[in-house]
């Protein structure tokens, strides 16, 4: 993990590719090129990429694109996808309207 986090390691210049306009995260409409560029902007971790681009933060919460994003980032960094830590799983698992959170039962914490 240390090697991954070492931002002084050169990963080379961003080289445009013919499939850069391919949409990867369809919920947030983020392309492959944007994800690759984000890595070159210094976002080496999935969590960073998520915060930077909002990939995997839409309706499906990364259920569709999670593996794809990992693959693209890993390739750009020259590592194996399994070297990358998954995005942090958080509640709620599914999109929930704010008004429903307002209905949350009371006095149940503890």
């Amino acid at each position: 993990m240390n090697r991954l986090n070492d931002r002084s390691n050169s990963i080379g210049e961003f080289v445009p590719a013919p499939d850069d306009n391919l949409i990867i995260c369809r919920c947030e409409e983020i392309t492959k090129g944007e994800i690759r560029q984000a890595v070159h902007d210094g976002m080496y971790e999935i969590t960073e990429i998520r915060r930077y681009l909002r990939v995997g933060m839409g309706l499906c919460q990364g259920q569709t694109c999670g593996k794809l994003v990992k693959g693209i980032v890993a390739k750009e960094l020259g590592v194996s996808p399994s070297d990358l830590e998954s995005a942090t799983a958080r509640s709620p698992m599914r999109p929930v309207e704010m008004k429903i959170f307002g209905n949350e039962e009371r006095g149940s914490h503890g």
């Binding site: 499939d19 391919l22 949409i23 990867i24 694109c65 509640s91 429903i100």
Partner: protein, 536 residues
């Protein structure tokens, strides 16, 4: 907040099985599922399952689901549907969204049995309406009885791709091709053979270059891939299609386990990020169990056993089961699981390509490359024999854990033996009575009854037939080869339907004697009256 002995997340095969075992031990489990109906993916599995009796072999998936549900209900298991488990928090507390309300529950033990989701693969046009998951297509045809499209291309030749392709054909869709970037068919050969003999071509070492269309899918271009996984220029093929189904693997939905702090591991053989668990299904977090696809992609039969193991273990951990009983019950379940995890497709053998069967027979390369066993390959398998009179011909050529053919034969003509993955052997010393039980029982639809010569230069072939409308006795159509090529004229001389066959009809066709070992399917060639659509 409500408290339960055991909270199960997911009412699929693993979750229901766990709840059943826990309830048998005296626990009061509650099962949550986000769907409107319980059963997970079981209720859309209309095909017969593999395995042995203890694995519910030759029973259709949805029937197994019905049995599980009935058993759970009879034991008083509470199943809450349309209930989304939003989070799993410290001290095994969960929040559940149902309707407009969020409720809190606490489980003394928790079982995560959330299953998996379908993978996708991006290519130009993959976001067009008409590109769908194979599982979604299966839900549409088998649960909602809606065709996802008229002309369909399937990407992926694992069991999901093969099984769903066949079911799309059964639903009256036109499957124009199966495509896989891998050089070999990924799923069971018998599943591939069912699709191939219907005339669907398989393109291995091929991938989708692009999907065409502006508002929806109107066509697709595929091309051959080289050993460097790049497409070979000039190898492009075009198909007019309105639907692309993606059957490119599953990913465990393991986020709840991660949220709960369970130690996770990224294991590509298990399909992605999964919680680490011991043989009891318990994760690194005491009292949190996992079972089924969420702990590693397998199939429903093993998910049910994993669920039972987790249910039993949870009962023991909470003091509902004595250690002696725990060990006896676990030993039984582990043996059942072990026997399923055998053969060429066992988890430990994934990505290996055996060149020989366990018996030392050279495998059919044509089956792996094109989805059907070639005429010059079929004779070397022990289920394919020659004798006078009617006899079974078993085109089962891969070692998979399955043996219903042996169990159903009332005469004992068919032998698999103790080792459940062994290829079935036909013993011609024992006369076949032509009852057809083996033809109907074979989950792979790989058994045929053949009478090589009726004395007048003709042969009869009895084949499993699961399409509607049923051909009628006396009609004439066309016999198809294993590849699905039109072979010769065929007269339907028998149509047998029986409750014991469980919706697998037995069609007997008469063909020239030299076609006895070539004719393996029948195509109706009746004129369709004007103004009606196929399937009406």
């Amino acid at each position: 907040m409500e408290r339960y002995d055991l909270v199960v997340v997911g009412a699929g095969p693993a979750g229901l099985s766990a709840a059943i075992e826990a309830a048998k031990c005296g626990m009061h489990p509650i099962v949550f599922d986000e769907n409107a109906k319980p059963g997970g993916q079981l209720f859309k599995q209309i095909h017969k399952f593999f395995g042995s009796k203890e694995h519910k072999a030759k029973i259709r998936g949805f029937k197994i689901g019905e049995e599980l549900l009935a058993e759970a209900q009879s034991l008083g298991v509470k199943v809450e549907l349309d209930s989304i488990v939003m989070g799993l928090f410290p001290n095994k507390e969960i929040t559940v969204k149902k309707g407009d309300a969020i409720r809190h529950y606490k489980g003394d033990a928790i079982l995560i049995a959330t299953g998996a989701s379908e993978n996708v693969v991006p290519f130009p046009g993959w976001t067009l309406p008409g590109v769908i998951g194979a599982g979604a297509a299966q839900t549409m045809v088998n649960l909602h009885r809606v065709q996802p499209g008229r002309k369909i291309l399937m990407l992926g030749t694992g069991n999901v791709g093969l099984v769903v392709s066949f079911q799309l054909l059964q639903a009256g869709c036109d499957v124009v091709a199966l495509v896989d970037a891998a050089p070999r068919v990924g799923g069971y050969g018998v599943h591939a053979a069912k699709v191939a003999r219907c005339g669907v071509p398989l393109y291995l070492s091929h991938t989708i270059v692009k999907v065409e269309g502006t508002d929806c899918v109107t066509g697709v271009v595929i091309a051959e891939v080289g050993t460097d996984w790049k497409t070979i220029p000039g190898s492009e093929k075009h198909f007019d299609v309105d639907t692309i189904c993606l059957a490119v693997g599953l990913s465990p939905m393991s986020q709840l386990a991660q949220m709960a702090g369970c130690r996770m591991v990224n294991d590509s053989r298990k399909g992605g990020t999964v919680p680490v668990c011991d043989k009891y299904g318990e994760t690194s977090e005491k009292g949190i169990f996992v079972a089924g696809d969420v702990s590693g992609i397998e199939e429903a039969s093993s998910a049910m056993i994993e669920g039972r193991i987790a249910g039993i273990s949870a009962a023991y951990a909470q003091g509902f089961l004595e250690q002696e009983k725990l060990e006896a019950q676990l030993a039984e379940q582990e043996a059942a699981l072990e026997s399923l995890r055998q053969g060429m497709f066992a988890p430990q053998n994934r990505r290996k390509t055996p060149t020989e069967t366990e018996e030392g027979i050279t495998v059919s390369t044509n089956l792996l490359k094109h989805g059907f066993v070639a005429d010059n390959e079929i004779e070397r398998f022990p289920g394919v024999t020659h004798t006078s009179g009617i006899h079974p011909v078993i085109e089962c050529t891969q070692n998979i854990p399955c043996n219903p053919c042996q169990d159903v034969c009332p005469k004992g003509c068919i032998r698999v033996g103790e080792h459940i993955t062994a290829l079935p052997v036909v013993d011609n010393e024992v006369p076949c009575i032509g009852c057809g039980m083996c033809v109907a029982a074979c989950s792979g639809q790989a058994i045929f009854l053949v009478n090589e010569d009726d004395g007048h230069g003709h042969a009869t072939v009895t084949l499993p037939y699961e399409f509607l409308p049923l051909p009628e006795k006396g009609e004439t159509g066309t016999a198809l080869s294993r590849k699905g090529d039109l072979l010769c004229e065929a007269e339907v001389v028998g149509v047998k339907t029986s409750k014991a066959f469980d919706h697998t009809n037995l069609l007997t066709i008469k063909v020239p004697a030299d076609m006895a070992y070539k004719a393996r399917f029948y195509k109706r060639q009746l004129p369709i009256p004007c103004g009606t659509k196929a399937g009406e």
